[in-house]
Structures are given as structure tokens and as C-alpha cells.
Amino acid sequence: MKIALNLEDWSTRGLILVGLAMLALLFVGPQIFDLFVLLKVILLISTAMLALSLGFIWGFGGILCFGQSVFFGLGGYAYAIGVINIGESTVPILLSVLVPAAFAMMLGYFMFYGRLSDIYLAVVTLAVTLIFYAFMRSTSGEEYHIGSARLMGFNGISSIPGFNWPGFPDSPLWPDDIYYVSVVLLILVYFGLRYLLRTHFGRVVVAIRENEARAEYLGYDVRFYKTMTFTVGAAVAGLAGCLFVNFNNFINPDVFALGLAAQIIMWVLIGGVGTLVGPMLGSVALQMLYNWLGTQKFADFLNTYLVFGAIILVFVLAVPQGLLPSARALALRFLPWVRSQEEQETAARARESAGNG
């Protein structure tokens, strides 16, 4: 794989920018954040990774999954149940990735090999999430346990052991260690997905988003590629769920609720479908906005949800493309020096044809 470092190219510049931002988060973060903020950032990294997973399968694979939270929840529960039974966190971390991936592969097999159309796919994935929600809420009885881990119904599982140093169950990671692990995992996942999109597999995935029929005429098995894309997305969401459990050592069936399922869609939509950074920014921006709104005092007839919903509505109408693509378009329009040579040529052509017309 030839990866030329071409600074004229927007995506390369963007990649460098993202890399620098993530390194800053990694090294500067612990110096300036206190413990409370550090934990908050671990939560935001976990949800950013969740948004990233949907941003990948929706924005690049063209698969609108309305139940991405099912894989997030499965990852969290798999880690929790694993670590309670095993008493060590290394294998449970793997489980948090493998269990959702295996489930997605099975679900994907039925949906993609059954040629389910896009809208039904959204409905089916949402229904699956809600089934998990209903089921997990009904597991408070003593008979619901996996090994020594009781599922505890809607109370959820608490006091879940966090990460420990691999092979040393008695030396747990402190919050700042978990912070480092989270940032490093986010960096690995982000650049891993970027790399994947440059491989033959990734390029076919994008081609399928563009024109499924043509991809088939070229001899690509669309069903296989979509199932694998869906599985990769689920694996990433599962890892995010694992980080989520480490944020407060707790998980309950709310991870499968409609609220989270809908929020992920909003994060990606607001951040920008078709980008990887956009959904991450969208998830951070929306959660910070929501938290801030929660601290404000509104008139009695307004509540936080209402104001939040109104802001999102206005935003989607005003900036339908999402944060990142719009910011990029603005930069290209008003800052000519950020344009690559090719974009300058395109702009020149556009001016020319406008002049002729």
C-alpha cells in the first residue's frame, strides 16, 4: 500500500491535523484536566468512538443502522460479565469486541443476504435494540446470571472491576491510566478505519455506497462486503461500550434504550455523514451542549429536552450537511490559500463556465 504524504491533498492535511489533535489530547490532557474532567473525557471518548462506528458504516458503507447502541451495550455487558467471572480484564476486553462483532455478523447475514432494503434495515436494527432493552430490564430475578455475574434487570450491574495491567489482576489501572488507554484506543481505531478505507476492501465498500448494482456487475459480492462493514462497525461500537463501563464501573439496560439509539444518529448527522471526524465532534458537541443546557434555568413551560430538540432542529435545517463538511466548505470559500491545486483549478473552471453562461 502506497501512502504518499501529499500536502496538497486535503485528506492528508486533515489526517495530520487530526493526528496532532489526538496527540495533544493524549499528552496535554492529563496535565490540564483534574480527575473529574478526566473521567468526563473518558466518557466522551467512549461515545465519540461509538459515533465513529456509526459514521463509518453509515457515511462510508451507506448502511443506516438505527440500533448501533445494541453493539455498544453488548460490548459493555460482555466486558462486565467477563471481568466479573474471570477477575482479569484482558480477555473481557477482547470479548467486548468479539461478542458484538459475532452478533453483527449473524444479524448482517440475515439482513444483507436476505436483501433487506435500507429502510427495513433501519427498522430491524432499532427493533433489535428495543428487544434487548425489554429483555435486559426483565432479568432482575436470581435465575438470570451468567457464571457468577448477575444481570440485575433494570438496576444494572454495578461495581464492575475496571482495567488492570494485563496478567496482573491485582494491579488496577488508575483513572489517568484508563484515560491514556482510551485515547490510544481511539487513535488506533480512527487511523485503523482510515487505513481500511484506503485498502481494496475499503474502496469497494465506498463504491457499494455509490452504486450497489455497478459493484455487482464488476464481480463484487455486495452482500459479503456489507456484512463485513457492519461487523467492523459493531466491533468498534463494542470496544466503545467497554470503555463506557470503565468510566463509572456500571452498566444498565438504558444503553439499549431508544434515547441513546436516536442520539447516535443525531451525533453523526450533526457532525457530518461521510466523514469520520465529524461524528466524533458531533457527539462531543451535542453532549456538552446538553450538559450545559441542564445547568441553565428555563421558564417553567420549557424543559431541557425541548430546548435541546429545538436547537437540533434549527441546526439540521440551517446546516444540513453537518458541522465538518460545512466548515470545510466555508474554509475553501473564504480562505483561498487552503485550497489544493486541484481545487483551485476546479474553482477556476467554475468561474469560467459561470462567465460563459
Binding site: H200, R203, N211, E216, Y217, Y220, E342
Partner: protein, 243 residues
């Protein structure tokens, strides 16, 4: 080359029903290796449906499709494509959001190794005359240029049999001329079935013509004989005169 070769493509009793409508009616069709055949017939005669049954875009109601003597009736579209059948659709089916080069690359990479792909792509771009546009988004190109891109995409797959559905639709006179040349050239290495309406174009490229009417084959003959055939004039050319 007088040796006896099996037909590259054959259908036996191929039938496609949509509810009560029989769009393709018990068609026995045969194409020799290296042949270039044109399919003509009035609108709704079943040409495009016949194409779609060949490539399993539609699942035929009855009958079978044989490729080099092997039954491919139940194979999926991508499996049929992998056997070396290239498909060019009526409305250009390309990757509009990707650039010209990426379009060709996706086709070439399927059967070339990573290292060889770029060279193969360059050769195709040269062949279809789109080298200068290689970095442009396909969705921004003119209709004729997109037709050209789709042809390039099909050729990059190195097909042995190519199905072309109205390759000159929406092309300028100049583009039709270029396409005629290109189809002749392609025919040196591949067999072709071409659905067309443009009679000048058909005269320029085909020896044998198959006339479809109401889902069935009406006549199969040389272009001259087909044009002289009274029945064909009645159902097809005759109608045009009236119109």
C-alpha cells in the same frame, strides 16, 4: 478459423413473467465465440428484460442460460460477472461520487494484482480517451463522457462477453462515431451483444441481427435481409414510418 467451437452464450426456453405479462417468452438464443450480435425490436419487445435475465438481475421464471456450455441460470450477478461477462446498462451505471480513475481502478483491481492495477488503469484511460479527465468526479461529467467511463469500467474487467444496452443513447454524432470504432476494436478480443435503436449504427457494426417482438425472437438474419423482411417492417420499421 473453421474449427467447431461451442457457443459462448446460449439460452434454452428462457422465460420471464411479471404476473400475467410474459416479457420474455421461451427464447432460444445462441451466440458464437467472437460474434457481435445486435438485438433490435420495438420498445417493450423484451430486449432489456432478456439482458437482465442473462445476468440474473431478474431471476428467470423458466428456462436456462448457458455460458461456455455451463449452466449459470442460478448464479448470482457478481458470480456471472466474475466469469468474464461485462455489463453496460442503458442509463450509465457508474460511481458518480468517485473520480474517473477510481471508477476504472475498482474494475481493474478485481482481477489484477495491486502492483499491476495502476498500469492497467492507465492503459484503459488511454484507450477510452479520458486520461485528461482522470481526476474529475464522474457525476460532474457530460452524459456522453459518463457513457465512455462506463465502457472503460466494463473493459477494465477484461470481459470475454460484453452486454451493451443502448451504448449510443444520448451521444452526439461525433461520440457515436467514436463508439462505433471502439466497438469494432473491442470485438477483436470479446464477443458482444448490443441492444440498439440507431439503425445507422447497427448497419455499421453488425452482421447478424436478432429481432425481438413481444418477448420472443421474430427473425434472426443479416441486417440486409432483416431490413427486407416484410414482417419486421410491419412490427417495427413500419410503425416508425407511421409515426
Amino acid at each position: 478459423m473453421a474449427e467447431q467451437r461451442p457457443p459462448i452464450l446460449e439460452t434454452r426456453g428462457l422465460t420471464m413473467r411479471f404476473g400475467g405479462v410474459v416479457a420474455v417468452d421461451n427464447v432460444d438464443f445462441s451466440l458464437a465465440e467472437g460474434e457481435l450480435r445486435c438485438l433490435i425490436g420495438p420498445n417493450g419487445a423484451g430486449k432489456t428484460t432478456f439482458f437482465r435475465c442473462l445476468t440474473h438481475i431478474y431471476k428467470a421464471s423458466a428456462g436456462e442460460v448457458l455460458y461456455r456450455g455451463e449452466n449459470i441460470t442460478g448464479s448470482h450477478t457478481h458470480q456471472i460477472a466474475r466469469r468474464g461477462i461485462g455489463i453496460k446498462t442503458q442509463v450509465p451505471s457508474v460511481f458518480d461520487g468517485l473520480d474517473v480513475r477510481e471508477n476504472i481502478w475498482l474494475s481493474a483491481r478485481r482481477h489484477h494484482k495491486e502492483r499491476e492495477t495502476d498500469r492497467a488503469v492507465d492503459a484503459i484511460l488511454e484507450r477510452i480517451g479520458l486520461t485528461a479527465l482522470s481526476k474529475r468526479l464522474v457525476g460532474r461529467l457530460s452524459h456522453g463522457e459518463r457513457q465512455g467511463v462506463e465502457l472503460g469500467v466494463v473493459l477494465a474487467g477484461d470481459p470475454e462477453l460484453i452486454l451493451l444496452d443502448e451504448p449510443t443513447a444520448g451521444m452526439t454524432h461525433e461520440e457515436v462515431h467514436r463508439t462505433t470504432e471502439m466497438i469494432r476494436e473491442i470485438n477483436r478480443t470479446a464477443s458482444l451483444i448490443v441492444v440498439e435503436h440507431d439503425m445507422q449504427f447497427i448497419k455499421a457494426i453488425a452482421n447478424r441481427v436478432t429481432v425481438f417482438n413481444q418477448g420472443a425472437i421474430l427473425v434472426e438474419d443479416t441486417m440486409e435481409n432483416v431490413l427486407r423482411n416484410q414482417e419486421v417492417r410491419d412490427i417495427y420499421l413500419g410503425k416508425r414510418e407511421v409515426a
